[in-house]
């Protein structure tokens, strides 16, 4: 049921914010396959999300290890509004990455609920999660995770390709535009190995924006970068927030706190609100 509801949302909407954020010339009446996720839509459950983009309810994650059960998250409750820039801070092993993996559906909770953009994503199966992620979420990893054999444009177009969100002939143009936005268009035809780490992270951000998601989640996005480059990456996130995208960044870098509109700290799997 949830899957069908998501399908209706995904395939039925017309993105208005898409034009705002990306300055794309899209006809008002053109049917697009990407998600109009910035505003509530027909069929979308307000009661589940209560108007928030992200809502975590009593979230628990326990890892089973040879040494015994390890509780990574202990009953997390968190709401994130649309257009927020949320920083999740914490020491190594505090549970930051586990939390982000719950929101991005990369991992499943032991108990509790994860409602993102109106969908109870913890109930989805792997394929439903993949579809949902491709259309609602952009993920930025610490180690960039670009596909080594593809050039930068192709790395950005591949999410569109899998979710078939833009006409085939327009994808390259959109990818170039996104690479311009992150300031790396001149390297568009290079492969990831031929650019620096900071440049790769910019490409990863462009890829995260490929399907125009309402939410971008970044896991230690500057963990592998020098401080100047890290600052530039945070500038990009700030710009996205200014354009209406919700950004959630996990980091142990205090610098992110200065950029975020809100900050939560995780210690031993529990949230301390600031």
């Amino acid at each position: 049921m949830i899957y069908r509801e998501l399908q209706r949302n995904v395939w039925g909407g017309v993105s208005i914010l898409f034009k705002v954020v990306n300055n794309f010339e899209v006809e008002e009446n053109q049917e697009t396959k990407y998600t109009d996720s910035r505003a509530p839509r027909k069929g979308q459950s307000h009661s589940q999300g209560d108007g928030h983009l992200i809502e975590l309810r009593d979230l628990v994650k326990v890892y089973k290890t040879p040494a015994g059960d390890f509780p990574a998250l202990n009953g997390i409750n968190l709401k994130v509004g649309r257009g927020e820039f949320l920083a999740v801070l914490g020491k190594s092993g505090a549970g930051k990455s586990t939390l982000i993996n719950m929101i991005t559906c990369i991992d499943s909770p032991t108990s509790g609920e994860v409602i993102v953009n109106g969908a109870a994503v913890h109930k989805l199966n792997e394929d439903q999660k993949a579809r949902w992620r491709g259309e609602n979420l952009g993920v930025v990893f610490q180690f960039f995770q670009l596909l080594p054999s593809l050039n930068l444009i192709e790395n950005v177009t591949i999410p569109m390709d899998f979710r078939n969100t833009y006409p085939l002939g327009e994808r390259k143009e959109r990818a170039l535009h996104l690479l311009e936005q992150v300031g790396i268009a001149e390297h568009a035809y290079k492969t990831p190995a031929k650019i620096s780490g900071g440049q790769q992270q910019r490409v990863a951000i462009a890829r995260a924006l490929a399907n125009d998601p309402p939410l971008v989640v970044a896991d230690e996005p500057t963990g592998n970068l020098d401080s100047r480059t890290a600052g530039e990456i945070f500038d990009l996130f700030s710009a996205l927030v200014d354009q209406g995208t919700t950004v959630l960044v996990v980091s142990h870098d205090k610098e992110v706190a200065n950029r975020a509109t809100r900050m939560v700290e995780i210690t031993d799997g529990e949230i301390k609100t600031h």
Binding site: D127, G134, F143, Q145, P159, D161, F162
Partner: protein, 802 residues
């Protein structure tokens, strides 16, 4: 044209890993090409050889009759069970060929060359009807003798008179055994010419085509017996033999059909094996690609790819490999079939038409080339793409493997080995499924390789066993026979010859207890203390001098007459003469058909041909045979002396020539088999190369750790190379184990196909050790490049590895 990015990824990945892509493409190509080659060659041989054979109305029955006139053929053809009957005279003579060397020739006389209606030959050059003092030559005979239309040819008849004939035409006759195989030329002359050659004008053979089922052996033989009982014998003629043409063939089949069928079947099995190994290699490589790209799969899923899209990508990838493999396999298979068919055509004397590819063979190749690789990778692809994003991105890498099982337990007991060697041994068993595939591939290749060598050893043993029956330097047949003492005295006058034995031949039948008679059996009379035969006794003893009532039979006779055994009494009948003998020994088969050996004097009493011999066998040194050159010299002198003494004009044969003839035939067959074994070895080697490459790739971090703790280039290389060699050695041991039964099966099939004889098996120990050398070499070579790549890694690169 815009291309979906995921397809672009496939092509870029293929290009990035060119050697691995080529590995899969070639492994598909080799298997599919082998199957295409064998099936297409079989089809063309079927079309061109069997087509020509069937088109000429082949005789399904040959009846050898006492001299008759052509009216008998008409009378036989009048039977409603018989469609056609053609009279033929077959007469032996000698023909002067190249280098003034005399060759045996079979002269065929037909009643009407304008109306040949059974075993029709095709005119190649000149005229198809020979006039008086003219001869037509079979094309392979003409070629080997160096004769063309218009040339004069010298023929010598049994009475040593020589005649000069003109070659009027060259014909192609698929019904006679080719000169290259039989060592006897074939010519066609008119009855007038035969009379001019001093021979009486009569026919001695009927070539029969029956009505009804021509392919039913029982039916055909029944019709032959009917013809004998109803027409031939009531007309006053005697039937000597009723038989099916060919070497153990069924009626209506080309004389070599069962051998060709057997040989193609062996190749077919090897082709299927090649496909099987290719399949294993494809599974191994694609599994390795999936293992290597597991993180990429996670990334693609994280950006929205669903499972069927990723599975589709890898299946399309395999399809592209398959398509490229087919691009190589189809022309390669066609080229192979061209080679195989031309080899067969030269050997069996038939014309090859167009070398084309039938839709059926093409479909088979397409089906195998496309469906096999995709089919075999379905499970690994679906299993490999099932992984969750979390596991793909965060759980993939160092330390992600399960704890070891019993093999690791066992290895832990070896405490005196150096750490790098121990690491190599442990690495070998880390990816057990991959190791299993690699070992299975190499093991099968090894088993087949050794089996080919065992087949060679078995064939050699078989020929050596047969060779024990021709333990002479040279032998000469004396058509019509001659006095024993004269013959042996003449032979002993040849310088260097110290032993000469005259042997006599006859045809006998065994009269059974119930009064019925056996088929005709060769009867050989020889000195009781013969030194030119070293019989291989299966049971009982050899003839004892001074015991004239004893006979020794061969195993072929026991196939026909199951009741005979050592100690049995048998009644032999030659003409009207009949005597009882005791069987004292059973000999091995030696390509002679059913045969009985008896003392020369007893033979004389039974046949009434006292003091007459038909063959002389000579030896320079009793107890051992001479060199080939010496044998040739003795043979030449034997021919000259017997010609001068007006005893025989036949060509002498040597023991060496006998071996050479068989060795030539077998070597060609073995080369074809060896090529297939090498193909299998290449596929096995490619498998190991792929596995080692993947192993090194997956252990990049581990190698970095080794380097970080001070491992030298040599140490890193050694760890990889030793692992390759260990895999090779395991496969060798298993291959050695499997090569026993596989070698026996292959050798049995080849010997049965080629010789129509039972197996005389010999395991090739040299093959076992040659394969050991090859497989160790494969192990080293296939791990050298991955080892070099591993040694090139720097600690910093490894830290960057993500």
């Amino acid at each position: 044209m815009a291309l979906h990015t995921r397809w672009s990824k496939i092509f870029k990945d293929m290009w990035s890993y060119r050697s691995r892509s080529l590995l899969v493409i070639f492994s598909i190509a080799i298997g599919v090409a082998a199957v295409g080659m064998i099936n297409n060659a079989g089809r063309i041989i079927q079309r061109d050889l069997y087509g020509t054979f069937t088109a000429g109305n082949p005789a399904v029955l040959e009846i050898y009759v006492s001299p008759f006139q052509k009216d008998l053929a008409k009378a036989v053809q009048g039977m409603r069970e018989i469609e056609s009957a053609q009279a033929r005279r077959v007469e032996s003579a000698s023909v002067l060929g190249r280098k003034d060397h005399w060759e045996d020739v079979g002269l065929n006389v037909l009643p009407d060359f304008n109306a040949v209606h059974v075993n029709q030959y095709n005119l190649q050059n000149g005229v198809s009807v020979p006039g008086t003092r003219e001869i037509l030559l079979e094309r392979q005979s003409a070629d080997k003798l160096g004769l063309a239309v218009g040339d004069e040819v010298t023929i010598e008849m049994a009475d040593e008179r020589r005649y000069t004939l003109t070659v009027a035409g060259i014909v192609h006759d698929v019904y006679v055994m080719p000169f290259a195989l039989l060592g006897e030329a074939t010519g066609y002359i008119s009855m007038d010419t035969l009379e001019w050659l001093g021979e009486a004008p009569y026919f001695n053979r009927l070539d029969i085509v029956v009505t009804g089922n021509k392919f039913d052996k029982d039916h055909v033989l029944t019709v032959g017996n009917l013809a004998r009982d109803r027409v031939i014998e009531p007309s006053g003629y005697k039937v000597f033999r009723i038989g099916i043409p060919g070497i153990g063939s069924d009626p209506g089949e080309h004389w070599a059909q069962s051998q060709i069928k057997g040989f193609l079947l062996i190749l077919q099995i090897m082709g299927i094996l090649a496909i099987f190994l290719s399949g294993g290699l494809v599974i191994n490589t694609v599994s390795a690609i999936l293992a290597q790209q597991i993180k990429q799969i996670g990334i693609m899923r994280s950006v929205g790819a669903v499972r069927h899209q990723i599975s589709g990508m890898y299946l399309i990838n395999v399809l592209v490999f398959s398509a490229l493999g087919l691009l190589i396999a189809i022309p390669l298979g066609l080229l192979g079939s061209w080679g195989l068919v031309n080899f067969a055509a030269n050997f069996l004397n038939f014309d090859v038409g167009q070398i084309d590819l039938s839709l059926k063979v093409l479909s088979l190749q397409l089906a195998l080339g496309l469906l096999m690789p995709v089919g075999v990778v379905l499970i690994p692809v679906f299993a490999g793409t099932r992984i969750s994003v979390y596991n793909a991105i965060y759980q993939n890498g160092l330390g992600g493997e399960k704890e070891g099982g019993w093999i690791e337990e066992l290895l832990s007991k070896f405490r005196n080995l150096s750490p790098p060697v121990m690491l190599s041994l442990r690495n070998t068993f880390r990816k057990k499924a991959r190791l299993a595939f690699t070992i299975v591939t190499l093991t099968l290749a090894g088993a087949m390789f050794i089996a080919v060598f065992s087949t060679r050893a078995s064939l050699t043993k078989q020929i050596n066993d047969i060779g024990r029956y021709i333990a002479y330097d040279a032998a000469l047949s004396i058509p019509g026979g001659a006095n024993k003492r004269t013959v042996e005295r003449e032979a002993l006058r040849i310088p260097g010859v110290s032993l000469a034995e005259g042997w006599a031949n006859a045809v006998a039948v065994i009269e059974r207890v119930d009064g019925s008679q056996s088929a005709e059996v060769d009867l050989v009379g020889l000195p009781g203390d013969t030194a030119t035969i070293d019989p291989l006794l299966l049971d009982g003893t050899w003839l004892i001098a001074g015991q004239p009532q004893q006979v020794v039979v061969n195993d072929d006779l026991l196939d026909e007459e199951a009741d005979i055994r050592v100690g049995s009494e048998i009644v032999l009948k030659v003409g009207e003469s009949k005597r009882t003998y005791q069987v004292v020994g059973v000999l091995s088969k030696h390509l002679s058909g059913p045969r009985i050996y008896m003392d020369y004097n007893a033979f004389g009493k039974l046949t009434g041909r006292q003091n007459q011999v038909d063959v002389v066998r000579v030896l320079a040194n009793p107890g051992s045979t001479s060199s080939s050159a010496q044998q040739e010299l003795i043979a030449q002198q034997l021919e000259e002396r017997f010609q001068n003494a007006k005893l025989s004009t036949s060509a002498a044969s040597t023991r060496h020539a006998f071996f050479e003839k068989f060795t030539d035939v077998f070597d060609i067959i073995l080369i074809v088999l060896l090529i297939m074994a090498v193909v299998l070895a290449i596929v096995g080697g490619l498998g190991l190369t792929g596995t080692m490459g993947m192993n090194v790739f997956e252990r990049t971090r581990e190698i970095g750790v080794l380097r970080a703790v001070g491992a030298s280039n040599l140490a890193v290389r050694s760890v990889v190379v030793v692992e390759g060699v260990v895999v090779a050695l395991i496969s060798w041991a298993l291959g050695a184990f499997l090569s026993g039964p596989s070698g026996r099966a292959l050798a049995g099939a080849v010997i049965n196909a080629v010789l129509k004889a039972d197996l005389s098996y010999k395991y090739s120990v040299s093959g076992l050790f040659i394969w050991l050398g090859i497989v160790v070499l494969i192990g080293v070579l296939s791990s050298l490049v991955p080892a070099q790549n591993a040694a090139r890694l720097r600690v910093r690169e490894v830290l960057d590895y993500e």
